[in-house]
């Protein structure tokens, strides 16, 4: 579905990504792990179009999307849950969800999607009219994910969903990611917490200092001694 081929991304003179390639197939959950500052967020931002790759190509469903403006990438079915559970603080929970279906493709189903989401996330239903900024960290993360689901995406990208959340809440978040996996969404997940991420992964990439260092399925990651000590704390 998504093929990223040898992209380089720069912030000014600083090279954040160098020759990174990855693939996400339909219905697959792919994770990208690595230390802080490795360039994982930059990778997602480049795919979405918030950053431009200087070289390389990004193809989604056989269409070249590298260089497209973000709203056009979203139109084609890629959505991103940004880092830190960013929601629109002064919009109500309901309105936040509505923005999710701004995309003309998603709009006709908006009402139905919202009902479905309220049954999946009853806490959000309770807080329907509350300003999103008054929700707790975990609730905001849920809202951020739910909002993405409103846009009927084909590929969901998540940027560090566990960041800043208490362990119990992190478990809840990953339960939902499992749920989305069951629903058949293709997922590209970027995480510092390799332990949790590997449990939902079909395939994994390891990025360090902007470069792809290792890739493999869950088993090969589990068995690799360097990764075990460096990232899985074993």
């Amino acid at each position: 579905m998504l093929t990223v081929d040898a992209i380089d991304t720069y912030y000014g003179e600083f090279q954040a990504l160098e020759g990174v390639s990855l693939k996400v197939e339909k219905g697959q959950t792919v994770i990208v792990v690595g230390p802080n500052g490795a360039g994982k967020s930059t990778l997602l931002k480049t795919i979405l179009g918030l950053q431009k790759a200087r070289t390389g190509s990004i193809k989604f469903q056989d269409e070249e999307i590298s260089g497209l403006a973000p709203h056009k990438v979203v139109e084609r079915g890629i959505s991103m849950v940004p880092e830190g559970g960013r929601v629109f603080p002064e919009l109500s929970v309901q309105d936040n969800l509505r923005v999710g279906s701004y995309n003309p493709v998603a709009r006709p189903n908006a009402q139905r999607q919202m009902e479905q989401i309220f049954s999946l996330f009853p806490i959000l239903s309770d807080r329907k009219r509350q300003a999103a900024g008054s929700l707790s960290g975990g609730e905001r993360q849920m809202l951020a994910i739910a909002r993405i689901l409103m846009s009927c995406p084909k590929l969901i990208m998540l940027d560090e969903p566990s960041l800043g959340l208490a362990p119990l809440v992190v478990n809840m978040v990953f339960d939902f990611i499992q749920q989305m996996k069951k629903e058949g969404y293709a997922i590209l997940l970027v995480e510092q917490n390799a332990n949790k991420a590997l449990k939902v992964a079909d395939y994994a990439y390891l990025v360090e200092s902007g470069k792809l260092v290792y890739e493999g399925d869950r088993d090969s990651f589990d068995k690799n001694p360097y990764i075990k000590t460096a990232y899985l704390g074993l």
Binding site: L50, V74, R86, F88, E90, V99, Y102
Partner: protein, 286 residues
């Protein structure tokens, strides 16, 4: 004396309503595009001139002329977005301010060249309503009611439509808004069009009340800023309340002393507010 004060109070409220429209436009533009439209009062001046021109030179019926004026001002807003604001979106704030300040010079002199420096107006006599010893001009009352109605429509637009939702999202977080498939440039154009059209609406309400001249906009621009910052920059509700407060205070002070002192008082209130609570009455939103 009491009747005079009461009338000043009422006039302050009535005109406050129209000032609230101006504050709304400025706040909308600042909240969404993050730019201070320095030449907003001059837009009102131009709106007035256009309506005058359409009615007297092209012989459009007055209401049609007003409609046309509103549309033209909306288009002018978009033109300013295209030519001035877009190139400066990432420029230092000072450059943005100075660019729009240059626009003031261009617009005022454009008006002077096209229509001359004399006062122009459309003489419309409207009845005066009397309550005992209190006289209220129906033109003021109409302007007030029209302003409130317009604000109501704008509120509905912002809260009940997808465009309104998009505008509010871009104002709060343009990055995630992009991630939702919203194209910020389109939203900026809509915002500037709405802001421009609003000046046309204000100009329409002013037709039975004032006569226009090229420097007509200057006093409104400053007052509009005072109101907007006093209420909290980018805060639509703050601007609304602030417009009435400033409107009433200046109106009553003008009756008790003079218009200059009233203006000075408004400015001093503004300066004090900045020092005590810079985010304004209800808090800034940008």
């Amino acid at each position: 004396m009491l009747e005079e004060l009461l009338m000043a109070f009422i006039n302050g409220i009535l005109l406050g309503g129209v000032l609230a429209l101006l504050a709304f436009g400025l706040n909308l533009i600042f909240g969404v595009v993050k730019i201070i439209h320095m030449a907003y009062g001059q837009f009102v001046m131009l709106g007035f001139y256009f309506i005058y021109y359409f009615h007297t030179a092209w012989h459009m019926p007055l209401l049609v002329a007003m409609g046309a004026g509103i549309v033209v001002m909306g288009l002018l807003g978009m033109l300013v977005q295209l030519l001035i604001i877009n190139p400066l979106l990432n420029a230092p704030r000072l450059n943005q301010l100075l660019a729009l300040a240059s626009l003031i010079i261009v617009l005022e002199n454009l008006a002077q060249v096209i229509w001359g420096a004399d006062y122009r107006g459309i003489p419309i006599s409207m009845p005066i309503i009397q309550f005992g010893d209190i006289f209220i001009r129906s033109s003021y009352l109409l302007a007030f009611l029209g302003a409130i109605a317009t604000l109501g429509i704008l509120y509905l637009f912002l809260h009940k439509t997808y465009f309104g939702l998009a505008i509010r999202s871009v104002a709060q977080d343009v990055e995630i808004a992009k991630g939702m498939g919203i194209n910020p440039k389109v939203i900026y154009y809509i915002t500037l069009a709405a802001g421009g059209a609003l000046t046309g609406v204000v100009a329409a309400f002013f037709i039975p009340i004032y006569t226009v001249h090229p420097h007509f906009g200057a006093s409104f621009t400053l007052m509009a800023f005072v109101i907007v910052v006093f209420g909290g920059m980018g805060n639509l509700m703050g601007g609304f309340i602030s417009a009435f407060i400033i409107g009433v205070v200046t109106s009553i002070t003008a009756v008790l002393t003079s218009t200059e002192v009233a203006d000075i008082l408004a400015l001093v209130m503004f300066i004090l507010m900045m020092m005590v609570r810079p985010q304004g009455i209800l808090g800034a939103k940008a």
